[in-house]
């Protein structure tokens, strides 16, 4: 595979590629940021990137949104299944976010900080 091939391939699968990049960025935000709210946002970025990935799977060139109209052949629509699944995924993400935020509020109340390292330090460095 030459460089050109790779680039063409990436162009062809650009959504996948960018979804992976966003996934990594989100993952990095989640792992290396000490701020808990940043972690939550990173988690959301990670999740949406996967949703993007999933939605891209369902796309069909020149396809319409799957709202049926009489007389249009089924091949003219995009695959509705990934969209249906992602709808669930979005709600899951927002649920986790809401709960995580409630935990953060509570943690702030107890520790007076939303910095993971600070919290660790207050707890006595008991990481393991």
């Amino acid at each position: 595979m030459t460089m050109i091939d790779i680039l063409l391939r990436l162009h062809q699968n650009s959504y996948y590629f960018f979804a992976i990049i966003l996934f990594i960025i989100g993952f990095h935000t989640m792992l290396s940021h000490n701020n808990l709210i940043k972690k939550v946002i990173g988690m959301n970025i990670m999740d949406t990137s996967i949703f993007l990935f999933f939605v891209a799977i369902g796309y069909v060139n020149g396809g319409r949104a799957p709202i049926l109209e009489p007389g249009v052949p089924y091949t003219a629509y995009v695959n509705p299944l990934p969209s249906a699944l992602i709808l669930t995924g979005i709600v899951v993400a927002v649920s986790v976010t809401a709960y995580a935020l409630s935990l953060i509020v509570k943690l702030y109340k107890h520790y007076g900080t939303i910095d993971a390292e600070e919290i660790m330090r207050i707890r006595g460095g008991d990481i393991q």
Partner: protein, 90 residues
């Protein structure tokens, strides 16, 4: 119905797509780099909206609406609420 408009592989759409995708990446990095949490949340809302547009491009209006309402709306509001209860700077 307007939301089911036919899309070809026109160059304009391609460029738009790349612009949006790049913008997404920029937003994501900006979220990570911004030290002001409220700004980060606003940027994240923008990110969500871009994402919704992208999904509209991908002919998935249902989740575009949902993302706009939940990702850009509710999640942002919840984040703002959490920030007001805690502190704004990282």
């Amino acid at each position: 119905m307007s939301w089911t408009r036919r899309k070809g592989c026109s160059a304009v759409t391609e460029v738009l797509k790349y612009l949006l995708l790049l913008f997404l990446v920029v937003c994501a990095i900006a979220v990570a780099k911004t030290r002001d949490l409220l700004s980060a949340v606003i940027i994240f809302a923008a990110y969500s909206l871009i994402m919704a547009i992208l999904w509209q491009l991908l002919a998935a209006p249902d989740i575009a609406i949902t993302e706009a309402a939940i990702g850009a709306g509710v999640t942002t509001l919840l984040l703002v609420a959490a920030i007001t209860k805690t502190r704004r700077e990282e």
